[in-house]
């Protein structure tokens, strides 16, 4: 094997214990002293590939050569010893430690009972920072540092462990534009010092800005490799999304009615306290499905949570049927006509230990129709209500008293949908409604969403699945870093344009005005 390559991965295959095939024989190579972009949609296999490289996962098949030598990593420490370090999206930092302590952890060198050699470590880290041309405050508590600075701590931590290969998983997702600029400068300095860097991202601009070569993955396979100077956004978008023709389902043309939900100048913070949605305005109308496409982590989750009363609204207004609902709790929202199919059904949508009956009234359990004397829940009535839902949504279940966890994923999701759609809502918010479901359940739920639209309800669909977005939406909005890159009708869009917008490149010149309304 060529020794000029820092890393060579050959025919890497990964099948997870649950049978999911994540990688179908991927090849990858990394030269010494290059920044190599790894591009792909959600589920393309980027994370799996790099987790294998960093020792977190073991491949089902395939070979990994490090500087020409065949290696077999059992854990991250093995990979570290071979000079490969990964900075994850969720930093592996101890929040209460100082930056220096975090850098030192696991590298203290001597035995457990020896004194911490802080001053020695400090000298080495300071030397490293001088050489790299960047710095972090070494004594401040890590949690008090800005996220961008924490990320630098992570990188220094890796360098302190003398890694030659640095893997960065969506590193700019947590950075402000100014920080991104500095961050790229750091990456170039590191490269010029001989380090190899793998940059995982879905942002086309970053690929073009900072990388030397790009590997694109699609559905667990190589979709292409190209030297960055030869790449254009269009070429990359096409590689990432593919050329296949979009399937579509027959939808009646409907009369789009008045605006049911109006969002204006919305600002929402994410869990880290950063603004993940900034000044967002849009409307969803009766009789339409507005699909929000985009790579996950661009503010979709926060948007849905803000609308459905699970996350505070920093600024701006959300109104349903012309009533401002910002700050109301989920029960009040339901009374305003909102139904919500949440993104994570196992954590939010249902209580797995509860029976089907119990789950079928979550959120409507205070309704008078289910109550009798002294506030007793009429379980008989609830049971027949549950049976109604089961029949209407053809859920496979034999006993309404069985715990929800006994259902298959598809039937769990059908139950959540059945409960929500039965609320007689005027607005349905559905987040990733068919994720992880089999084909028949997926098709069923999609049909139901279209059915709701045909009945004149407003539907807000958030999905990372482009096929779903194209199949269902009357209008499509592409979300990128908390903003809409554009709103258009499906027929005005093709995969390339969507891919560009998902990657943060504006690709709509004219149609925005008409479709966005």
């Amino acid at each position: 094997m060529s020794e000029s390559l820092a890393i060579q991965m050959l025919s890497i295959q990964k099948i997870y214990p649950d049978g999911t095939v994540a990688l179908k024989g991927v090849n990858f190579d990394l030269r010494r002293g290059e920044i190599h972009g790894l591009l792909g949609e959600n589920g393309a296999g980027k994370s799996t590939l790099t987790k294998i490289l960093s020792g977190l996962l073991r491949p089902t098949e395939g070979k990994i050569f490090i500087r020409g030598k065949l290696k077999n990593f059992r854990n991250p420490s093995d990979a570290l010893r071979s000079g490969i370090g990964m900075v994850h999206q969720h930093f592996a930092l101890v929040p209460t430690f100082s930056a220096l302590e975090n850098i030192l952890l696991g590298q203290e060198g001597s035995s457990n009972l020896s004194r911490l050699q802080m001053s020695k470590a400090r000298a080495r880290v300071e030397e490293m920072m001088r050489a790299g041309g960047f710095s972090v405050p070494l004594d401040a508590r890590t949690e008090s540092l800005a996220v961008g600075v924490q990320q630098r701590v992570e990188i220094i931590k890796m360098l302190y462990r003398s890694v030659d290969v640095l893997i960065l998983d969506e590193p700019t997702a947590v950075l402000t534009p100014v920080e991104v600029h500095d961050f790229f400068k750091t990456l170039r300095t590191l490269r010029d010092a001989g380090k190899s860097i793998i940059l995982i991202t879905h942002k086309l601009k970053e690929i073009l800005d900072v990388t030397d070569r790009v590997t694109v993955l699609r559905q667990g396979q190589n979709a292409g490799q190209i030297a960055t100077p030869e790449a254009t956004p269009e070429i990359l978008a096409r590689m990432m999304i593919g050329h296949d023709v979009l399937p579509s389902i027959e939808k009646k043309p409907t009369q789009i009615g008045s605006a049911i939900m109006q969002v204006s100048h919305l600002r929402v913070k994410d869990n880290l306290g950063l603004h993940s949605i900034e000044d967002l305005s849009f409307a969803v109308h009766a009789g339409e499905i507005l699909g929000i496409a985009g790579v996950e982590g661009n503010g979709q989750t926060e948007l849905v949570e803000a609308i459905t009363g699970l996350r505070p609204v920093e600024h701006g207004e959300i109104s349903i049927n012309e009533k401002n609902i910002a700050g109301q709790n989920p029960r009040q929202l339901y009374q305003q006509g909102l139904a919500h199919v949440p993104e994570d059904r196992r954590r939010l949508g249902m209580i797995l230990e509860f029976s089907l009956s119990e789950n079928s009234i979550l959120g409507v359990h205070r309704e008078k129709r289910f109550h009798g004397w002294l506030g007793k829940i009429l379980w008989g009535k609830v049971g027949s209500h549950t049976w109604d839902l089961i029949k209407k949504f053809s859920i496979v279940a034999s006993d309404v008293k069985a715990p929800a966890k006994s259902l298959s994923g598809g039937n769990q999701q059908k139950l959540v949908c059945a409960r929500e759609f039965d609320k007689q809502p005027s607005l349905v918010v559905a987040a990733q409604p068919t994720r992880g479901l089999d084909i028949s359940a997926t098709q069923y739920i999609r049909d139901q969403l279209v059915h709701l639209r045909d009945e004149g309800k407003a539907v807000l669909l958030v999905s990372a699945d482009l096929e779903e977005i194209f199949q269902l939406s009357d209008r499509i909005a592409v979300m990128y870093e908390g903003k809409f890159m554009g709103v258009a009708k499906p027929e005005e869009l093709d995969r390339e344009r969507i891919g560009l917008m998902m990657g943060g490149v504006s690709a709509l010149a004219a149609p925005v005005g008409e479709a966005a309304r």
């Binding site: 459905t308 209580i351 959120g363 359990h365 007793k376 069985a402």
Partner: protein, 376 residues
């Protein structure tokens, strides 16, 4: 269908396994000190339940000849051990409920101990007034319920407003409650003739023995009824639905429009009611004392034993009844064990402790798999 049956059987099998292990550890300790565990456990069982022949005779006599005749012949005393066990179980059902409600709501409420003291005192205080019989009982019970609930409120409020963990606040309030009780028994509630105890409960407020010569009173019925009410609240009302939902999945509960703080306060108050009532049953319905001892010895440890009851009863109100009878039997039988086998009666607590330790392990039965894998 198989999974459903297993759902019922699994806690039983686990409980049985834990009990076996508990008794096993007890037996090992006894062997170490050269006691005879077989003799001890037989005596324990005898002391807890008596023998089935005598129980049968007593019951058939009661049914055919009535109380007086059976008392005359002494046949009725075949029920002595069994009623003793039930008497011991009475307050434990209630303190078990306190902890069980907490767990159902995702809380570690170990404040029953202090709430029992306060409830017992309130029940005593009700005898400062004179009221007609019957009504006096109800008022005394009401006093105890309210007092227990009030003593649980600071816990709920401190958690809601300041985030104080309930384990700390309940332990502290248990001690404060204890010294408050010491103080009140020595002052406002003191029996002027006998300083070692509080005033006695007025005749009109007493729950009297069901069977002559035995301690079992209607308080058992009160206790079981309350367990039934708690069961009803937890599984048949929207409040109970919300309590269980928050305990199982706080995120989904919020999604379902449930307000977690309100639910938390409600569960503490329900627990306080149960513990307060436990104090009342022990004072109003436990002959021959009908008073609170100066050192609280007749209400001491009821709250802590309730934790064991709840854990053994799998935090289910009906399970608590069964577990309380088990625990009540252990303490009722322990005397017999000490007499017959000379084993100190505290041995039963060793058994209890070992059972709880075992029950702390999740998926108890899969533990064998872990060990098998480790060896393999």
């Amino acid at each position: 269908m198989r999974t459903k049956l297993w759902g019922w059987f699994k806690p039983l099998v686990e409980g049985l396994f834990a009990a076996l292990l508990g008794f096993g550890i007890g037996a090992v300790l006894m062997l170490l000190w050269k006691y005879d565990p077989v003799k001890a456990y037989l005596a324990l069982f005898q002391g807890a339940f008596g023998d089935f022949g005598s129980i049968g005779k007593a019951l058939s006599c009661l049914l055919s000849q009535g109380i007086d005749a059976c008392k005359e012949t002494g046949v009725i005393y075949g029920l002595y051990e069994l009623t003793n066990t039930l008497t011991n179980a009475t307050p434990l059902i209630l303190t078990g409920l306190t902890f069980a409600i907490g767990i159902r709501a995702g809380l570690f409420n170990i404040g029953a101990e202090g709430q029992v003291y306060i409830g017992a005192m309130a029940a005593v205080a009700a005898s400062l007034f004179s009221l007609p019989p019957g009504l006096h009982v109800l008022v005394s019970i009401l006093f105890a319920l309210i007092a227990g609930a009030l003593w649980s409120l600071p816990v709920a409020l401190l958690k809601a407003t300041r985030g104080v963990h309930e384990v700390i606040s309940t332990i502290m309030l248990n001690w404060v409650g204890r010294y408050l009780a010491y103080y009140l028994i020595a002052t406002a509630l003191v029996d002027p003739n006998r300083a070692e105890k509080s005033i006695s409960i007025a005749q009109s407020a007493r729950l009297l023995p069901i069977l002559p010569g035995m301690d079992l009173t209607a308080s058992l019925l009160v206790s079981v009824l309350f367990a039934g009410i708690i069961y009803w609240i937890l599984w048949q009302t929207a409040l109970g639905y919300e309590i269980r939902a928050v305990g199982l999945n706080p995120d989904a509960s919020r999604y379902g429009g449930i307000r977690p703080t309100r639910t938390m306060i409600a569960s503490f108050v329900l627990g306080g009611l149960a513990a307060g009532l436990a104090g009342a049953t022990q004072i109003l319905g436990r002959p021959p004392t009908y008073a609170l001892y100066e050192d609280l010895s007749n209400v001491m440890n009821l709250g802590f034993d309730g934790i064991a009851v709840a854990l053994i009863g799998r935090n289910h109100p009906l399970g608590a009844i069964v577990a309380a009878i088990f625990m009540g039997g252990l303490s009722a039988g322990s005397n017999q064990m000490q007499i017959a086998a000379q084993v100190p009666l505290e041995m039963v607590r060793v058994v209890q402790g070992a059972i709880i330790l075992t029950l702390a392990i999740p998926e108890l039965l899969s533990i064998f798999k872990i060990f098998r894998r480790k060896r393999g």
